[in-house]
Symmetry: C2
Subunit: 258 residues, 2 copies
């Protein structure tokens, strides 16, 4: 059945969405069938994949909060690219935490909803909001592994210990199979000392060094531009730094490293 | 009594913390007495102001969740700079949403805690996490106005409508005096088309145009480097683009514009 991968980091703006949609795009170019599930109420992955929904279509909110009426299969949308599908987010996901507060097993709602899609895709990639709340815990309960984009900046580095604690807590109580797949250095800007210093720390710190992907995603204006046209940079400009870096990352990911 | 200003945007990584600590620094250079309250459990503003706490010191978590034992005054820390104090964040703030779920008036906890500090400072600046949950609602219940940093990128632009809805809901139910002070374009990178396009949209869109600050904060490597040394860029490199832009913003803010 599918490899289910969470992309998470509580720190905001570290490249979670850019990583989720570009890894998905690069893997689809290698012939994998990929589903992206956007679990961020801000729906940036939905927009980044060029999907503009009318209000009638089912979303991740429906399948998590109203599973008796909407199945995951109903929420799947085809993107412009073959082999790359999406379950879009909805702003109402923001209310899930309060809506499900009294529901027993509320952390397993996503996992249950995704079961019928078990054998349909090679890879499922879950984008998360910048928090460790119920939505992210649902994603961790459902996933087999977690990729952690980490901007090469001290604020993003500081956020890692809380994330590791949360992963351990989920492993202990909800999903013993969850593992940390790796840490991907993102938005690396060779002009700044802080980028180099943070990358060094990531590669030397006891808790992070063995999880570091070799690939480093460079800061790159084409990535910023790609969001506006609703295309992952891998499809938007295939020879840009951004596309090359994410294609190299997809190769490394498939090789099973780090 | 003090002007209480929230700095908020649900989108992650748009420069909320950088704006909060640099506006505070620039205002203190103009002779204002300023308090920064860090309401983000990731405590980036605390770190950005170079404050490294031992576990014994009181924090924003204590004054919001255990007001009977800790008063706001107990949580105040002096920074290295005269006229610039801080109430530090704590990772336990992340649990406030669940801890206070049954507490009547839970959205007014911060406001009540801050009342004894009413006349002590000229200006209070509240940093928020990238979400519109209870912590941010507490900040909106306490504040008189909101500054919205908005990275010149479509994902950040998209987040504005949800933020406006939340401000309206708080005005209607909790704090009728709350007003939107202005939208500050941040991380503007003149090399990318998307920066120019998003800035144009902000300046032309019916809902945003009248709120736009004239000052635009340029993308600037010194700002990234400043976080590593625990100093706002305004103190770290006074002639850098970052420092100049934030000092210009402080002037514009004091003039009462937009
Ligand atoms: N390698 C890169 N080079 C340049 N810009 C980048 C890069 N990666 C991401 N960005 C830009 O940085 C911003 C943050 O990226 P993104 O939205 O993917 O982060 P995120 O972690 O998903 O944010 P959030 O926490 O809000 O979900 C976006 O404007 C994006 O275009
Ligand atoms: N004008 C700028 N030029 C360059 N880098 C900037 C600028 N403003 C902020 N940054 C960098 O962008 C990142 C995000 O900034 P910051 O942490 O202030 O955003 P935030 O909105 O507070 O994030 P969060 O949503 O996680 O709280 C940081 O690495 C910061 O150093
Ligand atoms: Mg995102
Ligand atoms: Mg912040």
């Amino acid at each position: 059945s599918a490899a289910i991968i969470a992309v998470a980091n509580e720190k905001g703006g570290v490249g979670k969405t850019v990583t989720a949609i570009n890894l998905a795009a690069a893997l689809s170019l290698k012939g994998k069938t990929v589903l992206v599930v956007d679990m961020d109420p801000q729906a940036n992955a939905t927009r980044g994949l060029g999907v503009d929904l009318d209000d009638l279509h089912a979303t991740a909110y429906d399948m998590v909060c109203q599973p008796e009426t909407v199945a995951a299969g109903d929420a799947v949308v085809q993107t412009k690219w073959k082999g790359l599908d999406l379950i879009p987010a909805h702003v109402d996901l923001a209310g899930a935490e309060v809506e499900l507060v009294d529901v027993v097993g509320r952390e397993n709602r996503l996992k249950q909803a995704m079961e019928p899609l078990g054998g349909v895709y090679d890879i499922v990639i879950l984008d998360t909001p910048p928090s460790l709340s119920l939505l992210t815990v649902n994603v961790f309960a459902c996933a087999g592994s977690v990729i952690v984009p980490c901007q090469t900046h001290p604020y993003a580095f500081d956020a890692l210990s809380e994330l590791f604690d949360t992963i351990e807590a989920v492993q202990g109580e909800i999903n013993p199979d969850l593992r940390l797949s790796g840490i991907l250095a993102t938005m690396f800007d060779r002009r700044t000392r802080v980028s180099h210093n943070t990358l060094d720390r990531l590669r030397k710190d006891q808790r992070t060094q063995k999880f570091m992907y070799h690939t480093v995603i460079r800061s790159n204006t084409t990535i910023a531009d790609s969001a506006e046209v609703g295309k992952p940079v891998v499809f938007y400009r295939t020879t840009s730094f951004g596309a090359l870096d994410y294609k190299a990352f997809a190769d490394e990911f498939l090789s099973g490293k780090p």
